[in-house]
Amino acid sequence: MVVHELTDEAVDGLFHALADSTRRNILHRCVQGESSVSRLADAYPMSFAAVQKHVAVLERVGLITKERRGREQLVRTVPDAVLRARQALDELEQAWRGRVDAMADLLAHVPTDDTPMEGTNP
């Protein structure tokens, strides 16, 4: 059983990514179907570089993927199934990493049956 707790870093990243109306709009467009950076750039009153930056922020938090095809950079939302598999296994990994660290701490600090307690808990 794994308890769900988003790390502060992940929450910060998501909030930052979604706190911009252009980025939310890009996300909505991509949910409706594949797009490209140049097509997105045409849709907003800003430079290609600026749109590219917004796409990079969304890509960094794992909400979309970018793929070069010929001269175009295709942008699409990460399929739900992949997103979920990745998320579930990431959470399981984090849970086990935490457990393994706690196990190592116990092995280092808790006396075994044949060594006397000294009451020196760190």
Partner: protein
């Protein structure tokens, strides 16, 4: 580094983790066998676990609850499917309702744990698999997706207000 390798397979929905400990195999086994030691590492620090029933023989059931910072209790159980002390343990891990009954709608994971001597210490290998994609989807749906939706909803509300 205690964790020496992690592999994730998105097709079989499984996690393979290798960890090395500077302690003998028997000592590492105690961390699983003694419920008082087990509950010091099973739950995350903010959700400590309390084991109520604990018996690591095949067919036996282990029951526990984890307590949230707000004092809410989340119940879980293991069904031991194989045990070979102090070398290996295999169990199914699931959720239970507030009254302790197994919740059949919640996801199950099957975990196989093996301990072996390695470089004067112990190598622990874990292989953990989600039983079905539907169940895994549900687990994620209640965690991450909810978090994202809440975050988006909050931002929209702030911007609208």
């Amino acid at each position: 580094m205690t964790v020496t390798s992690v592999e994730k397979d998105f097709d079989t929905l499984s996690l393979h983790l290798v960890a090395d400990f500077a302690a003998p195999v028997e000592r590492v086994w105690q961390l699983w066998e003694d419920p008082r030691q087990l509950e010091r590492w099973w739950g995350p620090p903010t959700y400590p676990a309390t084991f109520e029933a604990h018996d690591l023989t095949p067919g036996a059931e282990v029951t526990y609850f984890m307590t949230s910072p707000e004092g809410e209790k989340y119940r879980g159980w293991w069904q031991i499917t194989s045990a070979n002390p102090p070398k290996s343990l295999e169990f199914i891990d699931g959720f239970a309702d507030a009254d302790g009954a197994k919740n059949p709608d919640m996801p199950l994971t099957t975990t196989r744990m093996e301990l072996a001597e390695h470089d004067g210490g112990t190598r622990m290998e874990l292989h953990s698999t989600f039983d079905s994609r539907e169940q895994m989807d549900q687990l994620v749906a209640m965690g991450m997706a909810e978090g994202i939706q809440q975050a988006v909803g909050q931002i929209d509300a702030i911007l609208a207000g």
